[in-house]
Amino acid sequence: MLVEILISLCLVISGIFGLVGSVGLIKLPDAMMRLHAPTKATTLGVGGALIASMLYFYFVVGRFSFHELMITLFLFLTAPITGHFIAKTHLHLGHKPEDLPPTGSERPWANYESDESRAAIETPESAVNEAARKSG
């Protein structure tokens, strides 16, 4: 009984955060802000459903299931990377380097550095030096 309440609670929480993430997609005005909505749906939204599933299998079916942990791990690995891709594409399409804050060093954000200027700085020798600096 108590377990059923707990499972339902997890499912409701997961549903609420999934819904809020979708509402955010409609409501927020520009692409960078809309990108914040799916990071929520994948964390607490999916997380709640996975915890509910683990509780169900452990207490109702009677065996422990690891698959939910795997789903969490794979989501946590892939969600930031897709988010990063979308942000970079958006920067390419809709932003100028002047819109962004300065990097604080001579070189620009990686998105805006041309291949020619990168090749001029990153000669094979400098790459070796850089590797030495990082490992040292």
Binding site: V23, L28, M33, F76, A79, P101, P102, K134, S135
Partner: protein
């Protein structure tokens, strides 16, 4: 010699554990198969990942993971509040530059992933020399405090783990 057979011992351990979880049943056969995969995959991929990162302390990694999970829960509620109850005119999105003290690519990747997973901040770009990170905040009336919080809360701990 051991380095030659196991170029990434942590990766071997991780693959072994992940394999047990994927098959969802721990038997001797699965352990052996997991161990074979755990030895073969790091050997095959070693040329793409030459410098093994040194991990300083396991308890600190556990502490970091728990901290991030807790922050994800708290930040979820905060962002849900912003989406549901704050008008778009009152929301202050901001770009924040985070100067990095972390040097190893693995540590910077973990920091960028953490920033994206905690709702309200998305890491968007890295400077060409890898010394600062561009972060977009959903609602940051005070961008400096966001920067200081990320540096104090996550980067300091990652420094202790990786460098």
């Amino acid at each position: 010699m051991l380095r030659k057979i196991l170029p990434h011992p942590y990766l071997t351990l991780l693959l072994l554990v992940v394999w047990q979880m994927l098959v969802n049943k721990i038997t001797l056969g699965n352990l052996v198969l997991g161990l074979i995969l755990g030895i073969l995959i790091p050997l095959v991929t070693a040329p793409y990942w030459p410098n093994t990162p040194r991990l300083r302390s396991i308890p600190r990694i556990v502490e970091y993971v728990l901290l991030v999970l807790w922050d994800i829960c708290v930040a979820n509620v905060q962002v849900a509040y912003i989406i549901l109850f704050k008008s778009n005119a009152n929301t202050r999105p901001a770009w924040v530059t985070i100067p990095l003290e972390l040097k190893t690519p693995e540590a910077i990747t973990v920091l960028a992933g953490t920033i994206t997973l905690t709702p309200g901040t998305v890491s968007s770009d890295l400077s060409a020399d890898g010394r600062s990170l561009l972060v977009h905040c959903l609602d940051a009336p005070d961008p400096e405090s966001v920067r200081d919080q990320i540096k104090a809360r996550y980067e300091r701990r990652l420094m202790e783990i990786f460098e």
